[in-house]
Symmetry: C2
Subunit: 107 residues, 2 copies
DNA sequence: AATACATATGTTATTAATAACATATATTAG
DNA sequence: CTAATATATGTTATTAATAACATATGTATT
C-alpha cells in the first residue's frame, strides 16, 4: 500500500486546483474544441476580459495552454493531451452522478 | 461551440475541488487499492485522526466513498468507478509533466 | 453499567482563492 | 506619431478552504 509519490501528487493537486474553477474549466472545455482568441473566449463565456486573461495566464503558467499570435490576436490552444482525458472522464462521472441523483430525487 | 452544461459543470467543479486536496487525494488513491478503516488510513497517511475523519465525511457527502461497519471499525471504500479514471488520467498527466520538466530543467 | 477503543463533530485562527475594477502594455492601422 | 484594438497586469475586498485542536458520540467487551 503506497500513497502517491510526492512529486506526482503535487502536480496532480495543481491540475485539480486549476480545474476546480468554473472559468478555467470552461476555457479548457472550449479550447478542447478549437483554437480561440481571448476576445472569442470573452464572447462565449460572457465574462470580463481581464478575468479571462488572468485565468489564461494561470493556465499558461502551468503549461495547460499555449498561444500563438496572429495579427492583433492571441490564439490559445491546449498544450497537453492528457488533460482532455481528465476533463472527459470527469464529465462522465458528473453525468453519472447527476443522472443518478435525478432518479433518486424523483417522487 | 458550447460551454459545459451548468448542471454538469457544477458537479465537475465539485469533484475537482475535492481532489485538489492532498489528504483527500491520498485517501482516494489508497482506497482505490483496497478497503480500509479510518485507523489504517491514519497510519498510512500519518495524519491526525480527526483530519482523516473530517475528509472522509466530505468525500462521503459527495458520494465518492461509502463505508460499512465491521465490529468496532468503519471500513471505507470507493463509491464511484469513474473516479478511478479521473485519478489515473491525471496521474498520467502528472508523470508526463514532471518527466518533461525534468528533461527541460537538466543542464 | 463502566471502561476502552474507534470514529465523528464543532470551533477557531490562519491562509489562500476569487472576482471586480482600474490601469498598463503591445501591436497594428491610419 | 497617434489612435484604436487586443490583451495583460496590479490592487484590493470578499469569501472560502485548511489544519489544529478539543471534545463528543457510539459500539463492544467485561
Amino acid at each position: 500500500m503506497e500513497k502517491i509519490k510526492a512529486i506526482y501528487q503535487t502536480e496532480m493537486e495543481r491540475v485539480f486546483k486549476l480545474l476546480s474553477n468554473p472559468t478555467r474549466l470552461n476555457i479548457l472545455y472550449l479550447l478542447e474544441q478549437q483554437e480561440l482568441s481571448v476576445n472569442e473566449l470573452v464572447d462565449y463565456l460572457d465574462l470580463p476580459q481581464p478575468q479571462i486573461s488572468h485565468n489564461l495566464a494561470i493556465l499558461k503558467a502551468h503549461q495547460l495552454v499555449t498561444y500563438r499570435r496572429e495579427g492583433k490576436k492571441n490564439l490559445y490552444k491546449l498544450d497537453d493531451p492528457h488533460i482532455l482525458d481528465v476533463i472527459d472522464s470527469t464529465k462522465k462521472h458528473a453525468v453519472h452522478v447527476v443522472e443518478g441523483r435525478a432518479h433518486r430525487d424523483e417522487a
